[in-house]
């Protein structure tokens, strides 16, 4: 969950992601009045409008800072964990970027999380920090336990790279860099992986159009103006519609 207070329990009309923080919305479009918020956030006053019979709510995140794993991590790397919650059976810990590598090393060496399942990023447009880097860890020795780490990274800031802890993070971070433009400090070979050499822009950012950008400036930045491409009479013009 985020640090901001959620605005209202009402959910906007069906639409892609709202610009603001993640809302603790219920599964139904009707306002669900009995949504209990996590203990870390002061409970919002309930609106007095139980007009319809309350729909069953979906799962809600619960605080997980009491779990032994989180407590041990907080003790070993003080200041690393900003928040911890559990949602649909998965534990997530929000980690401060400067303590990320240390926390990961601790988790790998001491707690047995030897397997990095996935590392990816999410773009929360108009939120500070803009990106969230998510790491999913797995431990074979702790009864197949999984843990998700979340790191907030600002747009021009860099996230520390965990390739020194798990080698598999190499291509995962390259993909996050390619798709979002997040720089990873300490990555041995940070360059684009899925898009082609010379591609300008970062496709998975929310302000990158789904239709694609004109490939003119994307490939030949010295020949075409920024964001521009072949003119209407150019035989190389490709219309992306």
């Amino acid at each position: 969950m985020t640090d901001e207070k959620p605005t209202t329990p009402e959910v906007p009309a069906p639409e892609p992601a709202p610009a603001k923080a993640v809302e603790p919305a219920a599964a139904a479009p009707k306002p669900a009045a009995e949504g209990a918020l996590p203990a870390a956030v002061p409970a919002a006053p309930k609106p007095a409008a139980p007009a319809a019979p309350p729909k069953p709510t979906g799962p809600k995140p619960t605080d997980a800072s009491g779990k032994p794993l989180i407590a041990a991590l907080a003790a070993a790397v003080p200041g690393a964990i900003l928040e911890a919650y559990e949602f649909v059976g998965e534990t997530t810990a929000k980690i401060a970027p400067e303590h990320l590598v240390q926390a990961c090393r601790y988790l790998k060496d001491e707690e047995g999380f030897t397997y990095l399942v996935d590392e990816t990023a999410v773009d929360w447009k108009d939120r500070q920090p803009r990106f969230d880097v998510l790491l999913l860890l797995h431990s074979f020795s702790r009864g197949q336990e999984r843990l998700r780490l979340k790191v907030g990274v600002a747009e021009d800031a860099a996230c520390p790279s965990v390739t020194c802890v798990w080698e598999t993070a190499n291509w995962m971070e390259r993909e996050a860099f390619d798709m979002y433009g997040i720089r990873f400090d300490g990555h041995p070979d940070l360059r684009r992986i899925l898009t082609w050499d010379g591609f300008q822009g970062h496709p998975l950012r929310k302000d990158f159009p789904i239709e694609g950008i004109d490939t003119g400036a994307a490939i030949y930045p010295d020949r075409f103006p920024e964001g521009g491409g072949p003119g209407p009479k150019d035989t190389n013009r490709k219309v992306l519609s």
Partner: protein
Amino acid sequence: MSEPTPGTVAQFPPLAGPPLLGLHEMELNFGPQHPSTHGVLRLVLKVDGERIVSARPDVGYLHRGTEKLFETETFPMVIPHTDRMDYVAASTNNHAYCLVVEKLLGVEVPKRAQYIRVLLDEMQRISSHVLWLATAAIDLGAITPFFYTFRDREVILDLFEEYCGARLTLNCMRIGGLPVDLTPGWLEKVRAFTEPFEKCIDEYEDLLTENRIWKERTVGIAVLDEKRCIEWGVTGPVLRAAGKAWDIRRALPYEVYPELQFDIPVGKNADTYDRYLVRVAEIRQSRRIVLQCLDWLEKNPGTEIRGKVPRVIKPPAGEAYACVEAPKGELGFHLVASGGNKPYRLHVRPPSFINLQALPEMAQGHLVGDLVAVIGTIDIVLGEVDR
């Protein structure tokens, strides 16, 4: 000629001294158009004579912006997109996606639908492994297993076509269950295929398992032991051939796998030969699971194929991750929902992409002729690597 001892990496004499006559290593481009890179994969090789000094994969030739497209489609519309990633084993992709959405929604899938899902997945696993066998063999020069395996794979594809209308990109699961019920007689046809199938597997093994040339080409090649596998995040048959009996169907079970009896084949030497044996054994195990599903479905006739799912699917905000054991490894979907009817962020954890990272280490020290064996043994599908 004696067979190489298993457990040892094929040893070649070390490179002797500085390059002769000032001749450098040759830089060779393997792909992207190449008969045996299983798709558009480019490897930049540095070779010294026949010895590979370094092999650097260059992927992205099949990148189609799938994850971006996910964000513009409603939740049910995403399912056909997932087919096209690992197009050889499409139903596992659908399955993993449906699992993650059902996890967030809290939807209960009826038992009959779970059994049918498992049945489809296991048939898909047989089809994928059999395709792997065909292409790995033909890359190494054995051109005949390809036709034997495709004869059987055609039957599976026809069965899929009868069920959901498509042979390859199946689109055969929906959030909450399945799109359609089984046609009458379909189960009998599956049984008619599966029961004699063991003899077919024996045929494939007859051609290759004890073949001296096959063994020479695969024993000791592309070794990646268990520790390095986990370090590289490699899962699936590659990890199992390294000695770790880790299968998501057993470790993090989903659907009705806890009720099914099946074994996990585990190798010892972590080389290409063991991976071949592990995959063939997995085909046998999948056949066992298919028969058990058939037994249950025949004993428990019913019609429910879908749980209670709202008409407009809007999972609560939050994130979730669900994984299945795809034929290539752990296939996971990481969903970040924001309460709308489209995924805010849907990331795929593709096993082929992550397994391919280990290629440079696996190819180290081998000859150019082994490179095809190394690529084949990881079992990659470029659709999944590049998405």
